[in-house]
Structure formats: structure tokens, C-alpha cells
Symmetry: C2
């Protein structure tokens, strides 16, 4: 897939007018996959975002407008999650992208015909609920920003901020699949053990250090067997697409529990994803070289080192976090942007994370989710969590209302956005990844 | 459920003769649940172990001998995994236990009738393949033996063997669900990063520190929602049953990768479970008080402290590990017993692990699997992994062939067994948890 592909033509317009609006996340060049549910129907359906609408894939198959797709692909589009399409893999998903593009463009025969079936094929995005797009077999969270790792490390281990394995190992750990939710789901403040007074026993109660972590989520396609590895040169074939991911974290629970086996309850109460999976085809114009390692850093070991991945393994995605307190929303004050970062600065590529994950024979399944780890850059304005932004609470943030925040308060709404933009290419957006903090039970 | 329940009567005999043999793991008082597959059939079936046979639950439902069970229970028994029965919960599973007991006992009308249908209802265990008994949504591994934690800690942190959180927090971490396999599946030696020379860069290659970890696995029933907790007084209701679990570990990978986020590739290449889930009803005669904390240890925090759990939260299960090298098997030499431990000595009960796991609002689903952590006792003979037994290789084990082992060699077969035995109660066994190490790919 190259930028020359007609589905990426910047001049392409859709007969769905709102897909042509400047600044939309979902122009016809994007066409991300998701799973939605009608109010009147229990069963979820596969959809494709177009402007402020969703193309209902089941309706499209039933209406015969996807007849050119292969029977397994049509079956997958009538499933209630994306696992079946992910299992078929990226080549088959690309056939859907091409068919949907022809169907939705303003200047094609298919488009002119589809326009007459508008009420059958399209549903307004604000009329449906979006779900987690796949049944997640396993969720793994990485730690791929060296700036995040260095910042956090310097708080917890001032004498030893970056551990000796960091530049060799794409550090990751297993997360909780059951508590991954879609954007908009409430965020219940967790209770847990923390030790506010280091000279007294710990106490169990509501976390006083609730934080977000700005990440990209990578959704895997295909399947590999137990005992098989995924060579780095083929690792990106397993990357079905990307979404936003908020790895909600309770910092006080984390610092007390995390040794020696890693974060557990500090993370597993909730993880929020944006519900639209942006495909690598849509992201093709925004591929960039992998992060350039500073002079003196070791080269990746051979099993993580691939020339093509080094040349084009990065994604030029801009990411932003906004906060709106309950008071701000009541007073009609716009959300405050807390940070803006770029995925270009990640130390490890997704292909490296995938190859590493499978390098010992761990099987990876369609629908598995990888988190990138917090996306932070070298500047304070690009730090992807409050722990870093407020330096563990030492430098609180002041909101437009005069309220201050070291960590999240009940009622706070956190919204993450991501987009790709450059001259000569259509803007590709990720939609919202949003959640409002509720008081502990 | 009390020991007075007729299904636990020590005098009870089955018309399945091999279930009455002394030393069988599966007398009529046990009746564990599992999932098996006939050679000639792709679809797995739910079964109940009885002696050297399996009661085919689908056949039993179809033959009408389970007509007294409720329709949802009969449906669950015709499913291809135990998730449906686990979702219904322990009370419903108990109705199956009682029906199976009546059906299989020698002295009941149901038993006399069932005996005439022997060829329909029973299949020989050695004629079927046993599978992982549930689709595991999430797998969590704990660290509940204070003896194991102290031994391992003293190797990795001699100055600080037991971390300050250990006696407050049932330490756990998320494991990999996709690579949990049933007893007998091959164990491919993983490759990975290790750093044999601390003054040189790490290398990627076959692990030179392959180890087993002897654990009990706890299979969960019921469902709780995101944001809900599971109070300690009701936590054991979520415990559907127990099996054996081997948390295969690559120690050289582990020591290099585990900081700061915990074990990852050192563990996720494989986890083996014994395929039969022994119910808490069968284990009722072997319930014992929770481990008595040494004087000076803190009491569990209130959310982990329940009088009934302290009085009866333990399980008197004896656990053993045997090793047979390829050379030993060729020469017909019996496996060498490496250790014998007891689950009585675990610092945390399963109810405490469950209550802790949900204490921040993490949802637990039917079919979730918890590992107890390595079961080690205070004596060298009760250490549950080679890391402890050979003290990180410093004290190798000599096999009957004269071979020595610091860690596992290719061709080694590790077999774990577990059983409960006392006067006045039938012996309850867990079956084998077995695997042979294969050379790295």
C-alpha cells in the first residue's frame, strides 16, 4: 500500500457531506473499522466511520453492495466483533477498504447508486453506541517511550532512572483484558492499598493518585501458534490497526504494590480505548523512520533490527490530552489542553514490540491488544500523564476556574485525541478516547 | 456442603470398578469436571472423571439420565467448555455432582440402570484427549508462599529478601491466557534475551535457565461487573474448583527483563494445567485453617480478613514434583521425586487473592484462572522450583543416571501431582500435570 493508492487521493470527496468537512477525523481517506450497536438491537454490528456517520457493514452485505467481496470477508462483516476480519488479516481487510471507498465516493457509479440507499447503509454516529471493537484475548502494555521511562524512573529511582535493560528490551507486561472499555464508559475511582505514611501500616481506601496515561493501542490480526516466533521483517503484517488508549493508573497503589512483580491493581480497574481502528492503509502517508537512537545507544539486537522497519516503522501521529473539571463543564469553559505529543518519538516501533512479544514462542491471536506505553516527549508540554506533568504532584496544574490538580478529581473528564496531518494528504483522525471520573463506590 | 454429604461418604463404591481401586485419583467422592475430545470428533465435550474413565456429559444428557437437572444446567453440560457451567456457579454445579454421584454409585437404582448403558455413558480416559477446561478470559498469577518469596528474594536482593508490601498485599501479576495448555502438551524451550556476562551486552538465544514452578490453579465461577468488589466473606463463592498448574519460567530471561514492570517473556511462553477441576465439594473434608501468621506479622487489613476464611480458608493438599530425564526414561528408571510440599503453608488464601483482585473494581469472569504462586515450604525438600532447590544452580541435583541438573535439560519430563488424604475420608487426587522439554526451535 502506497500513498499512490486511490483510496488515499487527497482530492477524493464522499457523497456523505460531513466526511468532506475540514477537520473531520473520518474523511473518505480514513475509513476505520469499529463495532456499534443500535438502540433497538442487542446484537452489535461491524461498521466503518465516514464523517459523522457509520457505514453499516451488515446492511451493506445484505443490500448486495459488497457482493464483490469474498464470502469469508462478507461473513466476517456480518459478525458481532472484528475478530473474524482480524483473523483473515490485512489483505482481506484491504478489499473491504477498497469496496467501501468506491461505495462512498461521490464520483463513482457505486457511489451514485449507494447514495440512493443512504437510509439503508448509513446511521448517524450519535444515534449508536460504540463498543470495544474486538474480543480481546490478551492485552499487553509496553513502555516504549524513553522519555516517559526516564521521567518516571527518576521519581522512583533517582540514582538509577533508566534501568540497564531499557535500550535492549522493549519492556512490557501483561494487562487485564476484561476491563478494557470503549470511550465514554465511566471511570470509577479505584480503592486499594496505599501507604501515605511510610512509618505506618498501609490503608485501604480510594486512590488519591488517579492518573491517565496517553497511549496508542495496536490491534493484532492473524494468528501464530505456541512455540512460533514472528520475525521482525514480518511483524508489521500482524498489525491490523491503531486506536487511542488511556491506561488509567492509580499512582499511590502502584508505588506500594509494584515490586517485585509489576503493576497490578494500579492498572487493572479500567483501560479505555477509542472505538475506531485506523488501518495501516489509511496511515500510509504518515509513515516515518523509527526514532533515531542517540549516539552511544546500542543498536537493537538482530532479532529486533530490520532495515525496512528502521526506515518506515514510525507513525507521525500527533496526540493531545484535554481536561475539563465538573466546574469547568458547568461554567461552559472549554477543556484545557494538558499536553501535545507525537508518536514519532517512541524508542521502540510496534513491529519491534510484536517481534519481541513472540520471540520466546508466545502465541499472538487476532484481537489481541498492545498498548504502546505512555507517549511522552523531551519537553514538559509533551508529557503524557499527570505523574510526569505535575512531577508527582510537586507542580500542580491550575485550571481556568482556579482549581488545581496534582492528580485527577472526581468529575474530571479526560479526552484524548490523535490525528495525522501534512500537506498533500487528507487529515486522518482517531476520534475521541474519553472518560469521566466517578467517586469511589 | 459438609463432610456429611452423601457424595463424600468414604464407603461409597462405584459400579465403575477402577474408581474403587486404592490410590486412584478419581474415586466416586471426587468427580472433577473436565473437557475432552474424542479422536473422531472435532467438538470437545464436558466430562467427569471416574476412575480410569470419563463420564460423557453430553451423552448423559442425550440419554436422559440427567433429566432431573435444570434446562440451563443441561445446556451447560452440552457446551464445548466449562465456561457456561462456571457462569451458573457452584450451586448449579453441585446439582450435577449429586446427579453424577447417584448415576455412578453401585448401590443406587440410577446406578444399576446406568451400568446397562456403560458403553454410551463412559469412555476410557486413555482413549480421549484432555483440553484446557475453560476459555480463559484472563489469567493472573499470585505469589502466595512466603517461603518462596523469601527464598527468591534472598537470591535477587540479599539485603532485602522480603519486600515491605508482602505481608499486606497478596502480590500478583497478570499472566498470558493464550499460552495456557493442558497436561502433556510439549514444552518448547524459549529463546530470549539474557545477559550471561554482566559486562557485555545481552544476547538472544535459548534460555539456559528453564525451570518449573509448582502451583495450584484456581478456576473462577460467576461474574462480577467492572467497578464492583468481591467482599472477602463472599470471595470463596467465586472459587469453582482447583487444578495443578506449572508456571514454566526462564530464569535467565526473567532476571534480565523483570525490572521495573515484572515478568513477561520469562513466563508467557507456556503454562501447563492439569485438566481436571476438583470442586470445593470434593475438597470439603480437607479444609483447614488459613496459615497461622508468625508472631509479629501484621493482621490482614480488614478487607482481607474474615473469620470464616481464617478458620477454614486453607486446603490440605499435598503436592509433589517428579523429574525423569530422557536417559532415565530410556533406561526404564522411575522418575525422581524432587520435592513434596503442602498447600497448608501458603501465606494467603484463595479467598484473599480473589477479594484483593476485585478490591479496586477489576471484574472477574467465569473461566478466569488464578495461579497460587510457587508452593514452597520452610524445608529444602518442600521447595517448589529448581531455582530454590538448586539455589540458582549453586547446588545441582544428581539424577539416578549420574546426570546433574541446575535447570531443566531438553528431554526432561516434569510431572506434578496433588492429592488429599486422611483417615475417614476418600483420597482425592488431581491427576497429572506433565510436560516434556523440547529443544528450542
Amino acid at each position: 500500500m502506497t500513498a499512490a493508492d486511490e483510496t488515499l487521493d487527497v482530492a477524493l470527496q464522499s457523497w456523505v457531506d460531513d466526511a468532506n468537512a475540514p477537520g473531520t477525523d473520518f474523511p473518505i481517506q480514513n475509513l476505520p473499522f469499529g463495532v456499534f450497536r443500535h438502540d433497538f438491537e442487542e446484537r452489535p454490528r461491524v461498521g466503518i466511520a465516514i464523517g459523522a456517520h457509520v457505514l453499516d457493514c451488515m446492511a451493506a452485505v445484505r443490500a448486495g453492495v459488497f457482493d464483490a467481496l469474498s464470502p469469508p470477508v462478507r461473513d466476517a462483516l456480518q459478525s458481532w466483533s472484528l475478530n473474524a476480519l482480524m483473523g483473515l488479516g490485512r489483505d482481506d481487510a484491504r478489499t473491504v477498504r477498497h469496496a467501501a471507498s468506491r461505495l462512498l465516493r461521490a464520483d463513482s457509479d457505486e457511489g451514485r447508486s449507494a447514495r440512493t440507499m443512504r437510509d439503508v447503509l448509513l446511521v448517524r454516529m450519535d444515534r449508536v453506541g460504540m463498543l470495544v471493537p474486538a474480543e480481546i484475548g490478551d492485552y499487553t502494555d509496553f513502555y516504549a517511550s524513553v522519555f516517559h521511562a526516564t521521567n518516571v524512573g527518576s521519581m522512583f529511582r533517582p540514582d538509577n532512572p533508566l534501568l540497564p535493560n531499557y535500550k535492549y528490551v522493549p519492556i512490557g507486561y501483561h494487562g487485564r483484558a476484561s476491563s478494557v472499555v470503549a470511550s465514554g464508559a465511566p471511570v470509577r475511582r479505584p480503592r486499594g492499598q496505599r501507604r501515605p505514611d511510610p512509618n505506618a501500616p498501609p490503608v485501604y481506601g480510594p486512590s488519591a493518585g488517579l492518573d491517565y496515561e496517553l497511549e496508542l493501542g495496536a490491534w493484532l490480526g492473524g494468528d501464530s501458534a505456541i512455540g512460533d516466533t514472528v520475525p521482525i521483517a514480518r511483524a508489521e503484517d500482524r498489525l491490523f490497526g491503531l486506536s487511542l488508549l488511556n491506561d488509567w493508573s492509580a499512582r499511590d497503589l502502584q508505588s506500594w504494590e509494584y515490586q517485585p512483580l509489576g503493576p497490578f491493581l494500579a492498572k487493572n480497574f479500567l483501560t479505555t480505548v477509542s472505538p475506531w481502528i485506523v488501518t495501516l492503509d489509511a496511515l500510509a502517508p504518515f509513515r516515518v523512520p523509527a526514532f533515531e537512537r542517540p549516539a552511544g545507544d546500542p543498536a537493537p539486537l538482530p532479532y529486533l533490527n530490520d532495515a525496512a522497519d528502521q526506515a518506515r516503522g514510525g507513525f507521525d501521529v500527533t496526540l493531545a490530552v484535554h481536561l475539563a473539571s465538573a466546574q469547568m463543564r458547568e461554567q461552559g469553559i472549554a477543556p484545557l489542553r494538558l499536553s501535545t505529543g507525537t508518536f514519532r518519538q517512541m524508542y521502540w516501533t510496534f513491529a519491534q514490540m510484536i517481534a519481541h512479544h513472540a520471540s520466546g514462542g508466545c502465541n499472538l491471536r487476532a484481537g489481541d491488544l498492545l498498548g504502546s506505553g505512555t507517549v511522552s516527549g523531551p519537553d514538559k508540554g509533551s508529557r503524557g500523564c499527570l505523574l510526569e506533568l505535575t512531577w508527582r504532584g510537586a507542580e500542580p496544574i491550575t485550571l481556568p476556574t482556579g482549581e488545581t490538580r496534582a492528580f485527577l478529581a472526581d468529575g474530571d473528564e479526560v479526552t484524548m485525541n490523535g490525528w495525522c496531518a501534512r500537506d498533500g494528504a487528507a487529515r486522518i483522525g482517531f476520534g475521541d478516547c474519553r472518560g469521566i471520573v466517578r467517586a469511589a463506590n
